[in-house]
């Protein structure tokens, strides 16, 4: 436990030291929100979005940006790098278990995701009147499960990729798909209905986030799928993960 605390402290410091990445992860979604929010027409209610404005409708997709960046990009890449450079192996020769480093990575990744989400919600609320999530509990549930599903997929990438190059080769397409189905590249009302429906079931489950944020409560099926993905990918990662 003592070793884990020390490792977490150092990992947090290293995370804060990489300022460009940190600013992108925590600040980018909010920055996009601000840019969009400054366009007056996007703040007008629109029948396309059940009478909400575009900014409200798009906010959950902005959450996807952070989740995708951390979950299937920076976190698995960091782990793959640690393994390729022998950091995990070196740790295995000391009384500290390399699992402590993995856990510390997850904790800092979660902290960054949380900071990003809070910043987005608070700035959206204060600057553009984006309402706070209508179903706080449902929202937390959708957010936690969506995050867990993506992080588990990221761990799976880190587990099966032998090198950082291989990790990148897996992480990049996964990242692009997550962003695409999350309605980041094209707002989901522009996507064909079938594609948008697929997006309901791909992590982090943007429809559940949207439902909890602005409309009815999230559908149990959407949440259940995220839980299944999180457990399956997480178990796969645990089984396949190699320290060297």
């Amino acid at each position: 436990m003592h070793a884990f605390r020390q490792i977490l402290r150092i990992e947090a410091r290293l995370y804060l030291r990489d300022l460009p990445t940190l600013l992108t992860i925590v600040g980018l979604p909010t920055m996009i929100l601000v840019v969009l929010g400054l366009i007056p027409s996007l703040r007008e209610p629109d029948p396309n979005f059940d009478g909400q404005n575009f900014v409200n409708y798009f906010a959950p997709s902005l959450l996807v940006v952070t989740l995708a960046m951390v979950g299937v990009n920076t976190m698995p890449m960091a782990l793959a790098t640690y393994r390729e450079r022998g950091v995990l192996r070196r740790l295995a020769t000391t009384p500290a278990h390399p699992g402590a480093l993995l856990a510390a990575q997850l904790v800092v990744a979660l902290a960054a995701i949380l900071a990003s989400a809070l910043l987005l919600i608070v700035v959206g609320r204060l600057a553009f009147g984006v309402p706070l999530p209508e179903h706080p509990l449902g929202f937390v549930l959708a957010f936690v499960l969506g995050t867990a599903a993506l992080l588990a997929l990221g761990l799976l990438v880190a587990a099966v990729a032998r090198t950082t190059k291989a990790a990148q080769a897996l992480a990049v397409p996964l990242f692009l798909l997550t962003m695409f189905f999350g309605g980041v590249y094209l707002p989901r009302f522009l996507l064909p209905d079938a594609v948008a429906r697929i997006g309901d079931y791909t992590p982090p489950g943007v429809q559940a986030l949207l439902d909890a944020w602005t409309g009815p409560s999230p559908q149990p099926l959407h949440l259940a799928i995220m839980a299944v993905i999180a457990v399956a990918a997480g178990a796969g990662a645990a089984k396949l993960f190699r320290w060297e």
Binding site: I10, L14, V87, R90, T93, P95
Partner: protein
């Protein structure tokens, strides 16, 4: 008293037999060298000793304990420096040592260790900004920060420039003088000759020789050569009659005497008796390098 005992160790990866049959013992307080060509099974052997790999056969005992079963205890008492293991780019020297020190029950003082390894001015430097020699010294420091009884150092000076290599050797001698037993995996014969009390030469997964570096040289490649320029012509028979001499050759005015044993004494005595002065006298002895080639049929890679 042996601190490491390896008996008939076997380890294979799929069809590849990495270690076929290795037995050796390391005594407390010595610097023990593990030599061998690339792929001979050196690293696998020490990885089994370090408890990083499970042997397929044979026994390993470290400080009287089993490296797998008693891993938790041994990790406190054995420091390991692995081949090609790096640290995160942005981690600073002092942070790395303080972090690793925090894993041990009875760690060395990180600040003192930093100074001892000559990294004092680099205390707050990020890992990625260190030179190869500095990274290597940091790596050694991490292996020592737990105050280990045994330090296993794999390919300690690979990739270092000659000066950094010599500095590192000095450091290892200091560590040994403080009572730490050192297992050194290397393919630099000069390094083994300079540092090791005893060496095991491993080839194709087996120990082909185990001795002191000088013992190894004199038993495997005992041939010596003396070159000199005699002040007056010498009769070959004067030299060939000596039991130590195996051959006498001449190149120009130079005489080259080949032989074994106490060749130098035998030749200089006989010359002195006949009042012949040997000018430009040079003794060429085999090195560990020659012994290595003799044993493995490979030239050590450098």
């Amino acid at each position: 008293m042996p601190v490491i005992e390896v008996t008939h160790l076997k380890k294979r990866y799929g069809d590849l037999v990495a270690v076929d049959d290795v037995s050796l013992t390391v005594e407390a307080g010595e610097i023990f060298g593990v030599l061998g060509p690339n792929g001979a099974g050196k690293t696998t052997t020490v990885e089994c000793v370090a408890g990083l790999r499970v042997p397929d056969g044979g026994g390993v005992s470290v400080l009287g304990l089993d490296p797998r079963r008693d891993a938790t205890q041994l990790r406190q008492r054995v420091g390991v420096q692995l081949q090609e293991s790096q640290l995160p780019d942005r981690l600073r020297v002092a942070e790395a040592l303080e972090l690793y020190a925090s894993f041990y029950r009875n760690p060395a003082d990180p600040a003192a260790l930093i100074d001892k390894l000559g990294l004092g001015e680099k205390r707050n430097t990020a890992y990625k900004k260190l030179s190869g020699g500095q990274k290597q010294r940091l790596s050694i420091a991490l292996a020592l920060v737990g105050n280990p009884e045994i330090a296993i150092l794999d390919e300690l000076t690979t990739g270092l420039d000659p000066q950094a290599r010599r500095d590192t050797w000095g450091l290892i001698e200091q560590v040994r003088d403080s009572g730490v037993t050192i297992v050194l995996v290397t393919h630099f014969m000069e390094e083994a000759e300079r540092l090791c009390d005893r060496v095991a030469v491993i080839d194709r997964g087996r120990v082909v020789a185990l001795d002191t570096p000088t013992g190894l040289v004199s038993s495997v490649a005992p041939e010596q050569r003396i070159r000199f320029r005699p002040s007056v012509p010498v009769d070959d028979r004067l030299l060939t009659d000596l039991p130590e001499v195996s051959a006498v050759q001449r190149t120009g005015s130079q005489v080259v005497v080949t032989g074994t044993g106490d060749l130098l004494h035998a030749v200089t005595s006989v010359l002195a008796r006949h009042q012949i002065i040997a000018a430009d006298l040079r003794l060429e002895q085999s090195t560990l390098d020659d012994a290595f080639v003799e044993l493995t049929g490979h030239r050590p890679v450098d």
